[in-house]
Symmetry: C2
Subunit: 412 residues, 2 copies
Amino acid sequence: MAGKDVAVSPLALPLPEVPPIEGVRLGVVAAGIRYVGRADLTMMEFASGTTVAGVFTRNRCPGAPVDWCRQALKGGRARALVVNAGNANVFTGKAGREATRATAAAAAGLVGCKPGEVFLCSTGVIGETLPHAKLTAALPGLHAGLVPEGWAEAARGIMTTDTFPKAAVRTATIGDATVTIAGIAKGSGMIAPDMATMLSFVATDAKIPAEALQALLAKGTARTFNCITVDSDTSTSDTVLVFATGQAKHPRVPKEGGAVLKDFARALEEVLHDLALMVARDGEGAQKLIEINVTGAVSAKSAHRIAMTIANSPLVKTAIAGEDANWGRIVMAVGKAGEPADRDLLSVAVGGTWMARDGGVIPGYDETPVVAHMKGREVEITVDMGLGRGKARVWTCDLTHGYIDINGSYRS
Amino acid sequence: MAGKDVAVSPLALPLPEVPPIEGVRLGVVAAGIRYVGRADLTMMEFASGTTVAGVFTRNRCPGAPVDWCRQALKGGRARALVVNAGNANVFTGKAGREATRATAAAAAGLVGCKPGEVFLCSTGVIGETLPHAKLTAALPGLHAGLVPEGWAEAARGIMTTDTFPKAAVRTATIGDATVTIAGIAKGSGMIAPDMATMLSFVATDAKIPAEALQALLAKGTARTFNCITVDSDTSTSDTVLVFATGQAKHPRVPKEGGAVLKDFARALEEVLHDLALMVARDGEGAQKLIEINVTGAVSAKSAHRIAMTIANSPLVKTAIAGEDANWGRIVMAVGKAGEPADRDLLSVAVGGTWMARDGGVIPGYDETPVVAHMKGREVEITVDMGLGRGKARVWTCDLTHGYIDINGSYRS
């Protein structure tokens, strides 16, 4: 995870220009938690009146910062975010809880807010005590240097095994006003978000009640972060937070949101989508991005389970790494999902070419476009179940020697 | 899968001496289905009166031979078994059903029985039509040469990606009589049996009613084949069949089995256990055999799910490949299982040394025995949930470059 010479993912995207979001100041500093010679502590300060929404891992052994954020989220207000990389503060018992309490208190003192308005995230090694004295010692200098332009540095500051920084920006209209949504994310391994991915932070200058923001985030996450997987391993620290600073001038948004947020919802989902796919693109060892579409399932939930079962199948993922359009393994994965399936109604396409239909291979189908598609960086699989109208789309990456290299010597 | 120069698993065990089982004659022949220069067609003939029990994959897209065996099993009687390697006859539509019908008819003609007393299994590539004319052409010569001593050849004849043949033998007493149980198995990849593993065939000279035999097999399978996983991918062809020829002289066994079968049940489970662990030992790319014990769960079912989630975690499996006793990843896997868990009651031991307890690492625990244990061929993990009395034990292997090598170029 730390400081290895891992090549940048061949699926990396360039970091977009992220403009300042009114009401957000941010920055990074090297607190020396684990990494040497790089920033590892990131802070954001939000204007008074900022609302917040969050979704978290469903892992039953969450980290202390996840517990802290869940509690803080009840207030619906945020003034600061503090994120450290290199130590996840997970499975650290009382010491972990003490670390979150002390860090939040220190940040609250600097910002002039309640500790419950400070959100905390930690990412890195599990099971080692977080040296929070290093965080609290570094916070005053970090806070003094916060600026509106620090998004690129923040995107880098939260990285662990990531090989490239991840950010996305959209604008949306609320009434006649234009608002901006900016987000960053980190994540590469232990990616099978069951509510969110490792860490993602989104901010907007829009003024959105916490209830409405939470509803939009939950809906957007279900179609983005909850639709990616790298290795089926759900992290103990997954967190997505959205902050709305309320600095933009636009018609008042009611608690329940509604039609006035239609364009904002579209833009927010696009930001979440971009960030989620960047995480899949940076999957440990990834050489190919894989999109899996399942149609014709008995329900959307069933389609999602089938798609994720295909996405998590080591045999499907290694076949794609080997550029083999092995639809037999796809059929196997469909069958093991435990969802309603009729072998004789199944159809499978790769790169838009139908290869199997009605319970067997399509005689004489043209292999040429399939072979060409498999050699590309982006592979698309479609499975039609032939049963109903349920559909789902998920993304993953292939399983390569790179994954074994990275994870077979993580702590050594 | 076919004819690669893959080194024999470092976890391989020697093939035991398998004595003849009265009422069973068997043999192999090279039918040229896929492999060159090796036997790929195996046949067993059973004495008149042989009963049979079977368990099969729960994959929703099973192969045509699985459909055939499920139907044949209703009769409870068996006179022949025909197994081919190299082609799984899965997702082959009408041609697949025709192949099973024709093969069973040919075997029945040779043995002098009904087609419904012939059991069929196929293993190998999915989605290619089985050239059953090659099978039926080879069957007369194969049948003419069946002998009681052919177990070692049969264990080799059913192999695909396996690197060593697998067999196990036990004796048991029923009343004052001694009976023998012999079994063979194949399996290496696509191993996450949800009812059975790839293929395993067990025969005994005991005289056991089909109902009693089925009950013993179901119980034994639940604690053996259903407790191993190589890669979480449930095959479309998993089949375990047990044949009881009834040639031994012993007290009559009632339909419902019962106390008279106590020692036989013990011996059968030991055979199934040995064969299942050989499959885990021959997991694709395996360098280490991993035993996972979960205790203190709310129920046995919950413990099993947690143990299988740990066993299927790529991050746990790669850590063990890297000889890293990364208990943080074990905690992550416990948490993602979706079963009741309390982080602060969890304890984790590796090789008998407790490393984590009460929600955190045990301060000053002795790393020396843990490091030594991780360097061995057999790794033991124990997780105590601290919640109840449910327990489970499962086995898997590590995830190494060998797995990627084997599966990244399977068909090319």
